[in-house]
Amino acid sequence: MINLKNRSLISITDYSKEEILKVLDIAKDFEADPRQRILTGHVIASLFFEPSTRTRLSFESAVQYMGGSIIGFASADTSSQRKGESLKDTILTVSNYSDLIIMRNPMDGSARFASEVAKVPIINAGDGANQHPTQCLLDLYSIQKTQGTLDNLHIALVGDLKYGRTVHSLVQALSMFNTTFHLVSPESLKLPSAVKIYIKNAGLEYYQYTELSDVIPKADIIYMTRVQQERFPDPLEYEKVKNAYILENSMLDGSKENLRILHPLPRVNEISEDVDDNPKAYYFQQARNGVYVRQALIAAILGLKE
């Protein structure tokens, strides 16, 4: 029996394969009809200790489509954090005013800690460089929707595989689905061994490449990522690799019919704009799926959908 009621979601590995599939299933229901006003009378706290407009709007849109109310703040400037209040005190206080807390915080591990002190469930909307599980769920939803399944796919992950937390969560989750991994990155940005261990423990295969063009004919999904400057201690190192992996439309000749291109957005220049009109480009629809997945998660955690 799958029951997500009152369960915080901090890290994608907190959920089993069945529980992940359950959320994706409920998300389909919200895609068919997003305006299910099941959250009327509920108060959701949205605590963004650092700004992330995209993620915050997606969550707030999810809550409002369901008729719920939102309290909270969009950056630490407006919060009592500024007056030096501890995270614990903020969370305990907000627990009194809400049914569920959505939290983004720049400290690694802050979401796990919050879930241990809160009286209400927590959804982690990003804790520093650590986890961002709802991004992972929307990626999985997009893969499942475009491929008809999550099982036995060839998935290419491209770009910053070392620092990119979305990639790490995605590898952890896809390791539950018999994925073959094609890892494309510069030498200095390879997937860390602490993440590769998930692939190995699942008994799966991975292949490493430095050339993007090598994986295009093999892939069912190409997941592009941004090389983020703030992850580099040395700006010169960033300059060297930032343009290494740019996908252009002409490179997609000879790719599989079912191939879809994903990207967590915002993109800088890693996908050329001429790809946008290719039917294999899926990154904008992907962002839309985030709303359904977040609706599903909130509804499941509040026990409003089973």
């Binding site: 614990k88 400290m107 690694d108 591990g109 802050s110 804790d127 650590n130």
Partner: protein, 155 residues
């Protein structure tokens, strides 16, 4: 050293625990990990003693104290080959090796400066894991970062 003297060195304790085969450089870490600094029990510490196994070793004897397995296993971080000898009425009643525990709490600092445990009043918690080279590592319960033994710093 004669057998008689060797025996004396260990069994001079009437009741209590002897920790033997501690690497010399970690003898005082062991004292800290076990919280013996604040203990009122009589404690004898020997350090830089000759050892066949370790070259130089430390040995700690604590009167009238016995340790729970979970507690003593914490020292395996710095003294993985330590021997635990329990004594009652001058007799050795048990002699065991420390084991690597599954979890380590409170005694170790997370090496990630951005970790919540280094920025808020949160006690640290780690899971002990073994990487694919068989090396022991600590995975932070909060930030999920994995640190190698070389990065371990005691609180």
């Amino acid at each position: 050293m004669s057998d008689k003297r060797k025996k004396l060195q260990v069994s001079a304790l009437k009741n209590g625990t002897v920790l033997d085969h501690i690497p010399s450089e970690h003898t005082f870490h062991v004292i800290k990990i076990l919280g013996l600094e604040n203990s009122k029990n009589p404690i004898y510490i020997g350090n830089h003693l000759e050892s066949n196994k370790l070259g130089r070793k430390g040995i700690i004897k604590i009167s009238d104290k016995y340790f729970a397995k979970d507690e003593i296993n914490k020292i395996s971080l710095v003294a993985p080959k330590a021997t635990l000898i329990e004594i009652k009425d001058y007799e050795v009643i048990s002699k065991t090796q420390v084991e690597i525990p599954e979890h380590i709490e409170k005694i170790v600092k997370c090496f990630n400066p951005k970790c919540v445990t280094n920025n808020q009043n949160v006690e640290t918690k780690f899971t002990v894991i073994t990487d694919h080279h068989g090396r022991m590592k600590l995975k932070c319960h909060y930030c999920e970062k994995t640190m190698a033994k070389e990065n371990i710093e005691f609180l």
